[in-house]
Amino acid sequence: MIRRCILLLAICAPAATPVRAEYGDVVINGYSEKAGVRPVIFPHWFHRIRFQCRVCHQELGIQMRAGSNEIDMAKISDGRFCGACHNGEVAWSAENCDLCHSARAGLKTGVRGGHKTLGPGEY
């Protein structure tokens, strides 16, 4: 009986406590922690429900490589990058710091989520 319980637990435990970022989540920590705030998590899944890729990656000119955009709060306040929408009109304003700056301490900039390759997942 005990052996069976252990076996069952071993099977169920990974399903009960998986730790996995959502596919396409991007951690942005170019300046955040140096400035004393949590790193940013950008969830692709949330944004692509509402905007086609072309809006950010063409109209706003955001490069498709995590860490290559050098986004900081001054640029956001000027209406660039996230600030094109996060201005209190299209989406919540940048004054809601904690909604973007929501990551655990110590995370490095990069694309996260399930399927790692040598490429984007490692940037």
């Binding site: 730790v19 072309r54 990656h57 904690d98």
Partner: protein, 178 residues
């Protein structure tokens, strides 16, 4: 019999405990290894399972078939912030035949231009002329060419057959862009 009942109850409780963590394959934000569970935003942000479980399902990535979700009107993402006419959709397909023992690759412009502008890929990632870009899996796996998106945000590179999907196409039928 009592012993059997006890076992049944135990297994039922175990299964219930396993299913507590949200429905489907989506991780709650507080448990995803990225979000700080103590952060003030955690109770405000939308949970992936809430948003994604109502969209057409898929077996990889976000477990959402994004192309189907867009085409079938499950989602209506904006194509521009500025007031612009809808983008042009390119429906040409390219068959790539230099695939060794794997099936040929069928590249559908339609699924891509429904989301992206031509200039995002051309000519930074791919030359416009068919056959002039040295696309290969080694480079893709390192995040180049298709691998800029596939493996990061578009369906992952474990889905070989979605691209390598054409077993045999006569040369005359292989579509090429004008």
């Amino acid at each position: 019999m009592a012993r059997l009942q006890r076992r049944f109850v135990f297994v039922a409780l175990l299964c219930a405990a396993c299913s507590v963590r949200g429905a489907g394959p989506w991780q709650d934000l507080a448990d995803d290894g990225l979000h700080d569970p103590a952060g003030p935003g955690i109770g405000v942000l939308q949970q992936p399972g809430e948003a994604l479980s109502v969209l057409p399902q898929d077996g990889a990535g976000n477990h959402v078939h994004w192309v189907k979700a867009l085409r079938d009107g499950f989602i209506t993402p904006r194509h521009a912030l500025a007031d612009e006419p809808p983008p042009a959709i390119d429906t040409t397909e390219i068959i790539m035949r230099d695939t060794s023992t794997l099936p040929f690759v069928r590249f559908p412009h339609r699924a891509h231009t429904e989301w992206l502008d031509c200039t995002i890929c051309h000519d930074r990632l791919f030359e416009r002329k068919v056959g002039t870009t040295p696309i290969n899996m080694g480079a893709i796996l390192q995040g180049k060419y298709c691998g800029v998106c596939h493996g990061a945000v578009a369906f992952p590179l474990t889905e070989c057959n979605r691209c390598h999907s054409v077993r045999d196409v006569p040369v005359a039928k292989a579509a090429a862009p004008p």
